[in-house]
Assembly symmetry: C2
Homo-oligomer: 350 residues x 2
């Protein structure tokens, strides 16, 4: 008598179980993890054991490709977690080129000992964020490292999108005379993560602003297809870093008005208390739009008409400046150089 | 007098320097690392400070997308390193769908303290592997984690390729009567990494077989465009895992002949010494081709005519078996079940 085929592996204990080395080594346990935890969330109808690569439709338009590793610590924070952050962050990098996101790949580096319940919660958050954005997670990978060689879970997401022919939104297209719009208040994401990490408690908790911005971008493209020169989400390094990057790439200067830059009161208060500058704190659901002056009123109106841009402001203008300085008129009427961030910024906020 | 613009950051000391937190936080130091280390290797002619997403040509064909995180330990091993492995591994996942690889994205998770010289060597190895394969690394990301929260460097590569309309190579297409071809000897990669990790020394060192297989696949597609049913590179979990995955997805069994399966003598000897089975050791430059019987002679000849397939062998056949067993006729004429790998396999070999 020949033996009966063994079941693929013992059922995962999603309440009490933890990531083990065997979950990464290519055998039964790994297959079981992929099928019962990842595929159940990302692709409930799929056949067991997907291929190592996904075959997709032929896209209409030029491709846009972006990748980001996410190492945020802690994994869960007010307003989000590493899962939705990893989805939204990569979708936003595509959206900042004017692209419509189509597909995501997700690769996980798991530390031995990670509670499977945490992993399941993170994966569910990714699946929900992807569904909300209308994007499919089509392929992935899982690796396991020993305790002390990782930190819970790192997630690398890679996005594929398409951009219409002729549309060229780029950090090198800012021109003197363009106006600078900001879709909302600064600093919520970075401080939400910091507060969670340092166990700071407030009456009004600061929530991460993590959100997928491609819907907002689509609305702007309808409003002013030719007037949008640059889009940028001010993540690591914040507004200060994003504007300096654009100034450098476009060979221009910028003049900001501090009074116009929105910062929520709890963020302002915590920044003052900790000696941080909201201009350099990471955001995960805001965008900068640098637009032709004649298009600015319509773009600002379109931003404010969208739930993710209701606090949008015109914060400054692009000027000719061979030094490529970003200057700011301060609240007191003085001027301040908004330099590149340097030295220690908040680590591991994305 | 207005201040002079500061230089972007102090020059990187590539000989003595190490990765610091500032290299990951979005400011000057990070920009400098990206430009002088990554972009200098990957895209020497590019403008400074690429966008967060790459705009690419409109591809001709269906898209294929694959992602893999690489956590191999140690970072350097006989025959390769994490850099070329990360490039070749993802190209191979695309190739196993019959795709021509076009673009790679590369995302780095760096541990604070990693010598910059090691990082530069790894990045140079990636650039060389990508150039050799005719593929561009078009976008990327860098994160830094604290000492003890990572392990030197983890690299996630994501590949985009195109596959001709009508070509359907898939692990679900094996049919009873198909023949199973293996492009070369088993176990070199896994044992090369293990030997380096455990500091084992031999007269004839075992070298990793890491290689990009899309050129070999292209040759097979010319030879037998309709006869290729499945392609699979037997990486983690080795041949045993790959064949069980295909058997399960296709709903078939397999019969192997042990005498036909090539294993280099040093690998065989070390496996015996360590009590390991070459059937479950990872390979990084080999492929399994499951082909229609009438196409098998031509495909085998095409494999052997290519430098990466010179030791190719016909190792078995696909049979009808509702239990989906992979059986093997042993050297002594007995039969053995080649089960799914279970329990502890070699960790962190890719």
């Amino acid at each position: 008598m020949r033996p009966r085929p063994a079941p693929l592996a013992a059922a995962l204990d999603l309440r009490q179980g933890r990531v083990e080395q065997a979950h990464g080594s290519g055998g039964r346990a790994m297959t079981h993890l992929i099928e019962t935890l990842f595929m159940a969330a990302f692709d409930p109808g799929a056949a067991p054991l997907a291929e190592d690569a996904a075959c997709l439709e032929r896209p209409a338009g030029r491709l846009v490709l972006s990748t980001d590793s996410h190492v945020v610590s802690p994994l869960f924070f007010p307003g989000g977690d590493i899962g939705c952050l990893a989805v939204n962050g990569t979708l936003n990098d595509l959206a900042m080129r004017g692209a419509q996101p189509l597909y995501l790949a997700a690769s996980f580096i798991l530390e031995e000992g990670l509670p499977l319940a945490d992993l399941q919660r993170i994966v569910a958050s990714m699946a929900q964020a992807a569904r909300a954005a209308g994007v499919a997670i089509v392929t992935g990978d899982t690796k396991v490292v020993e305790r002390g060689k990782g930190d819970g879970v790192f997630i690398t997401t890679t996005g594929v999108g398409v951009v219409a022919d002729g549309l060229e939104i780029s950090a090198s297209r800012a021109q003197p005379g363009d106006l600078i719009l900001l879709s909302g208040a600064l600093g919520d994401h970075g401080l939400a993560v910091l507060a969670q990490r340092e166990n700071l408690r407030f009456e009004t908790p600061i929530l991460s602003d993590t959100a997928a911005l491609h819907g907002l971008v689509a609305a702007l493209l309808v409003t002013a297809p030719d007037g949008l020169h640059c889009l940028r989400d001010p993540t690591r390094g914040g507004l200060g870093c994003a504007l300096n990057e654009i100034a450098r790439q476009s060979g221009v200067g910028m003049r900001l008005r501090e009074a116009a830059i929105p910062v929520h009161e709890p963020v302002r208060a915590l920044c003052e208390f900790l000696g941080l500058d909201p201009l350099y704190i990471a955001n995960e659901g805001k965008l900068l739009a640098i637009v032709a002056a004649e298009a600015a009123p319509a773009v600002l109106a379109a931003l404010r008409a969208h739930p993710l841009g209701s606090e949008a402001m015109l914060i400054g203008e692009v000027v000719a400046d061979e030094d490529r300085f970003v200057d700011m008129e301060t609240l007191l009427g003085g001027r301040r150089l908004v330099d590149w961030p340097s030295g220690e910024l908040l680590p591991r906020i994305c």
